[in-house]
Subunit: 109 residues, 2 copies
DNA sequence: TTTTTATATCTTGCATTACAAGGTATATAA
DNA sequence: TTATATACCTTGTAATGCAAGATATAAAAA
């Protein structure tokens, strides 16, 4: 049956937007931040394709900057469209949350 | 970007288990019940394959019974394994819930 | 100098799963 | 006998998390 992997579908992108909104951040750092929030460790094969997708959709803008200890970092920031998408995500998530919790609470009785 | 469709992945099956636990129910009825809980209407192309999958995994047991107004109904009930899976789903859902809400709350400040 | 290590990003291919579309069958009512 | 509501199933598609592997840079160790 479904594991955490499946549960993340359609949720991870919203979380990325939320974290990027806190301030410019680059991919490698983002992966670490997600873990610090309680997500199980993230593969780069998950993060980078997602970031590229969001860049294509113009939800995020990017800037390359030199690193002190490796190749250039690609910093992400939210666009106006990204902010709007984040708001929509909030709504979808809250709705889902409410509905699922209703189903689960009912079943406990 | 992801819509409700993607968000449901790995969540819908747990919700089905939760509803079936409330009492024996057949597929067609289940679809209606989900709507009553606040989910947007469900295609039968979503429900039936999922139920068959859960049957194969022995999470649910089935009984055919005559209907008063149509072909036979296939009633589903939880197996012992299904109950355990439901518990695991609860844990996964609560964990996800906590983590995502933490990310979203932070971003609001 | 050469090698190793940590940092940093990207690509390819796979598995899972919600869903649309279409098909079949039964019972009642018009 | 036709229409309608009920009830279930199958096939194919799209979306997306992730494993595995490739590439590149900079600092430290050998």
């Amino acid at each position: 049956m479904a594991d955490q992997t499946q549960m993340l579908k359609g949720i991870l992108d919203g979380c990325l937007l939320a974290i990027i909104k806190e301030g410019e951040i680059y991919g490698y750092e983002l992966a670490a931040k997600l873990e610090s929030y309680g997500f199980t460790s993230f593969s780069e094969g998950t993060i980078y394709p997602l970031l590229l997708r969001m860049q294509k959709e113009k939800l995020v803008a990017t800037t390359l900057r030199k690193s002190t200890a490796g190749p250039k970092r690609k910093y992400y920031s939210l666009t106006e469209k990204g902010e709007q998408e984040l708001l929509l995500f909030h709504q979808r998530w809250n709705q889902l949350n409410k509905t699922v919790n209703k189903v689960l609470k009912k079943e406990e009785m």
